[in-house]
């Protein structure tokens, strides 16, 4: 199982001292945070994409390439890449390029984006979000798998004899996760292609995530990619740790109460009981995280949100230390002990190359 962190790249005033990092500082901090994730033994760093303040991450592949150059094992991903407002041709090019530079340590999570004003800036309409996600991904999928593409659709100019360059590394496209909070159509899309499904998980109750993942698993089997329990599932999570549970609550409360997404709404205690948020000791985080498996089944990737809501970089790095030293090693061991052998790990470039070779060998045997 893969463990990692994801960042939404918000630049938020620290509510405890009124300080706001500059864009320059926050951008350098995210690189430090990603590198530290590798240092403490995490597997994945995923970065969001936004085209509006207070976020900086308009160009995730640039940032991820810079991080790739300074890391050696960290899997680089996104949370999420906007499949609606980006041109699928540019996504195909950017991520293939990143794949080469990062020696294959790349996958991506596609999302629609729910900020209404962003769509028209890119000539799109939020009301067409689902059709955009469906058509754009169909093209992206084709561009990575066919050398010369003729294509016509509803949302972009037609292509004749187009080749997306560079070609994917070893002719194996990056693995794709489809992210969604509440759209069954996206679970269906992930299942149709046999791609991964990433449930945001952190903003909605467990019962909802259970339903969405259940739908994806059932349809994954329906489309013949394997049994329902072999579908590739990722979950978001949100934690704040301290060796002493009460100190964690005390330290995190001002950030929670003023957080951009849910601040000034439910109490920390209510939100903790309603969503995956865990504020407490390493053991509490371990217990709650192991509990996710009970409603989504054995899953492949767990990403935590750590750096947001104005938390200073020093605190974020300390959080990573605790996560890497006291939480993830235990989770790794416990989840591995529970997982049946026929449930696959999250695909990596190496496993996809191996799978392709195995499939080719099998085909040869059949023809011979």
């Amino acid at each position: 199982m893969q463990f990692g962190i994801f960042s939404v790249s918000d630049i938020t005033t620290d509510p405890t001292n009124g300080r706001t990092p500059t864009e320059a500082q926050r951008i350098k901090d995210i690189v430090t945070i990603a590198k530290h994730a590798e240092e403490v033994g995490l597997d994945v760093f995923a970065l969001g994409e936004h085209h509006n303040e207070p976020f900086f991450s308009s160009s995730p592949t640039t940032t991820l390439a810079y991080i790739a150059a300074q890391t050696s094992t960290l899997q680089l991903s996104t949370a999420t890449t906007l499949i609606t407002t980006n041109d699928p041709v540019k996504i195909a090019e950017d991520f293939a390029m990143l794949q080469h530079l990062a020696d294959g340590r790349v996958d991506l999570t596609l999302g629609r984006g729910n900020t209404g004003p962003v769509y028209p800036w890119f000539g799109k309409d939020i009301r067409a979000g689902i059709p955009l996600a469906i058509e754009n991904y169909a093209l992206l999928n084709k561009l990575w798998r066919e050398h010369t593409v003729d294509w016509q659709g509803k949302f972009r100019t037609p292509l004749q004899g187009f080749t997306s360059t560079p070609r994917p590394l070893d002719d194996v496209p990056p693995f794709v996760w489809h992210g969604s909070i509440r759209s069954p159509e996206i679970a269906e899309q992930a299942a149709y292609y046999g791609d991964g499904f990433f449930a945001n998980h952190i903003f909605w109750p467990a019962s909802h995530t259970k339903q969405m993942v259940g739908l994806y698993r059932q349809r994954f089997e329906h489309y013949g990619h394997g049994s329902a329990d072999q579908a590739i599932v990722g979950l978001g999570g949100q934690v704040f740790l301290n060796k002493n549970s009460q100190d964690a609550v005390k330290q995190f409360r001002p950030y929670f109460d003023n957080a951009p997404v849910y601040g000034h709404g439910p109490s920390l205690e209510d939100f903790t009981s309603q969503t995956p948020l865990t504020v407490g000791s390493p053991q509490e985080v371990i217990d709650k995280t192991l509990g996710f498996r009970e409603y989504v089944g054995d899953y492949q990737r767990q990403l935590f949100l750590l750096d947001h809501a104005g938390l200073p970089v020093k605190t974020v790095l300390e959080q990573l230390d605790l996560l890497g030293a006291e939480v993830v090693p235990v989770l790794r061991k416990e989840f591995a002990a529970l997982k049946p052998a026929h449930v696959p790990d999250a695909p990596t470039h190496a496993s996809l190359v191996a799978a392709r070779a195995a499939a080719a060998e099998k085909k040869e045997e059949v023809t011979a």
Partner: protein, 204 residues
Amino acid sequence: MKQRKLVVISAGLSQPSSTRLLADQLSASAVRAAGLLGVTLDVQVVELRDLAHEITDNMLTGFAPASLKQAQEAVTAADALITVSPVFSASYSGLFKSFFDVLDKDALIDKPVLLAATAGTARHSLVLEHALRPLFSYLRAAIIPTSVFAASDDWGANSVEGPLRGRIERAAAELAREVERREPAVVTDPFALTANFEDMLKNL
């Protein structure tokens, strides 16, 4: 006897509240009127005051906490609604509107709804027509023709068998007839898959 579900939504804030009083009289009349038509109404009352925090939380987080979710599910599954708001600043109260703001916009389609309001003076009586009726028209509810307004005067010593009683009986009888002639409410899951992927690709 047919079994049907009636949910009564009261947005009164005080205890006791004339809004709740009107809601109770309407539901008691509806139960009697339905009984005469061979329909047993199971009544559930939703006091919005008890859900005020949860309604705000839902607005900010996008999901309903458990107690509000139960109320939303009861409303969605109801065969009929009685909704009663106090008049605040010449309209329904903000709490009343907020409850419907966070309810699924399709939850009330074709559902019989009896509208009622209370205020300190009869000068507010048209709030039913210029505020409540357009809201429920937008939500595509099947609005009962008679709506009921009660001012402080209507609760006076001489009004027990007065015009308010008559309006309550008439509105309740209309609601009962709507419930009696309809099939039970069918609840659809907003997160259920309604099309397979090949069709989605074809019908872009």
